[in-house]
Amino acid sequence: MTGLPRAKTLGLVGCHACRLVCAPPAAHDDSRCPRCGTPLHQRQPHSLARAWALLLAGVIFYVPANLLPVMHTNMLGSGSDSTILEGVIEFWQSGSYGIALVIFIASVAVPCSKFLILGLLLLTAQRRSGWARHERTRLYRLVELVGYWSMLDVVVVGVVAGLVKFQALADIEPRLGILFFGAVVILTMLAAMQFDPRLIWDGETHERNS
């Protein structure tokens, strides 16, 4: 595979909308695909910058998502707010190990690992490092697949708040924290979408050439 030429050296660009292989006339930035008319880009423009921005915003929002309460439970007149971790602990202590585990994985493990993986990918892509390229690709695919499963916690809160409406006996309401948590999930999803995975492999030519 190393003997094959790269599109860049041949001056070819693939249209990301209709997949037509085009040969742009000059090193222009605003050439368009002759077939569908979408602007041509060799790599996603500002991929790293955008991905960093979104990742950073996600990390910033993760703080209030964990500190602010996500749910307000009113049981027989005594109401209490609970954050994500408090909810996990409560479920664990009351014996619902499965639910506690699921919420922990979906709300704590997955977002944190996404932050770490995306950070790693962006860092290594920025420095054009050639370390563990295959593994990094796999990590990227994992992040993409698993990303939206964090929404599970938001769905749980929404369903529970919608179902448990027994007036004075039991009443559950969502609180601001879940909004921030939803924003974190969306921002990390967008960050993963913004990252162009081809950047992982960009340094390879230099290595081979150097």
Binding site: Q42, L54, A57, I60, L76, G77, S78, L187, Q194, D202
Partner: protein, 532 residues
Amino acid sequence: MVSPRRRLSVMWIVPTLAALIGLSMLVHAWSSEGPTITIAFKTAEGLEAGKTPVKYKAVTVGTVTAVDLSKDGSHVVASVALMKNAASLLRTDTRFWVVRPRIGMGGVSGIDTLLSGSYIAVDRGVERGFAKAYTGLEMPPTIIHDVPGTSFTIYADDLGSLDIGSPVYYRHMQVGHIASYRLDADGRRFNLQIFVNAPYDRLVTKGARFWNASGIDVSLGADGLKLNTQSLATVMAGGIAFATPTGGVSTPASAQTTYALAKDEAAAMAPSDGPAQFLQLRFENSLRGLSVGAPVQFAGMDIGHVTSIDLDYNAAAHRFPTLVGIEIFPSRLGGVTTRLPTYQGDQEQQAAQFLASLVAHGLRAQARAGNLLTGQLYIAIDFVPNAPPIAFDMQARPIVLPTVNGSFDQMQEQIASIVAKVNKMPLESIGRHLDASLGELNGTLGQINGELLPATTRTMQTLQRTLGTVQGTFADDAPLPQHITETLLEVQRTARSLRTLTDLLGRHPESLLLGTPNDAKPTANTKEEPTH
């Protein structure tokens, strides 16, 4: 085209926005943080870290953040985080106490108050200055500064279902509540502090009467079944009610006036009983159904109650008569007490002399059945006609009133005498005689059946035949009537002829000898038929 742009991507707005939001939230939370104070309590019962609210005028102004034991373990320290706008409540003499609510404090206000936890109530002080550490009160204070109203003291023999927060009613409307209670030093009664809100505190007059209006008042006594309740709240929560009896003093009472708590409305509103007179009664028969507290009635009016029932021993007759102690209140008789004759001496001597004159006229005490269903007895003091005279000892203390058997007992005696009389009748010999008579009657009847009846039957048959014959004789077509008719006709003719003859003889008497004259013609007077 891989060359990185030097221009800053528009996307960086997103994290800056996020940072701004986070920062503003932080600043807002920090700036709206109110003061934190510590309150020391004897016990942390009802306090829960992070949950127990602090309320002022029913508005949550803070939360208990932590509950810890003090260093020497003698009391509990609760850390409270107040809201910013509640900082003005903190004065040096601000008071805190834990309110542990009950079912229906002032009313059944919903299931959430039934089960929601205690809270800490605040009473803002008046002195200027702030403090950080407070000592909580164990009992709610009697005077709460900001609520207008007046406090009063009520003495109660027993608490019943009353508690802090129990409502105080006036004409079934809640006008106040019980602020606190404590047992007197000698442990004999309770000292209740009630707080009546303005403007109803002026309804509490000097002559007001308070009574315990808790629950449902059911009484089944000698005078029937009574059921009374103040409101549903008092059924569950207990309460006190008050009213001024008509004619009572109506000037508003000043703060901390003391009142006594009566058992129920009737007891409270009843005019005061006046002095009591103790009497003793001695009954020979058993008084099953008489209980302490049973009413004593005179001339149909309730004038007292039974205070004690004891047994006495009569060694001579080996019997155990019953000694009943009663307490009567002469003032319950009403206005008639002014018309009674007065005597010399103290109250006991006067009573003894008065009773002596009445006893001489037949005043006796009786135990009568008040309720045949339950067998309850009551004491009735009445004039008994034809009562045998009994010596009345005026000097005996306690004064002993003579007794007679109750009407039920008398009925029993009468029944007993009837039974004795019935017993005395010679029922056996009557029976034997009756038996013999019946046997003879039997024989007689047999005789009648065997002889008399057939004879009668034959007679009847003969009579029947005779009547048939007679009937046949007098039938229309029988020969006899025809013969009789013909005979009568003949007789009639004969009689006519005879009349003619006598007529002729009368006119011509000589015709008897000479014969009929020729000119003797039948006259037109006589109706005659041509004779042949």
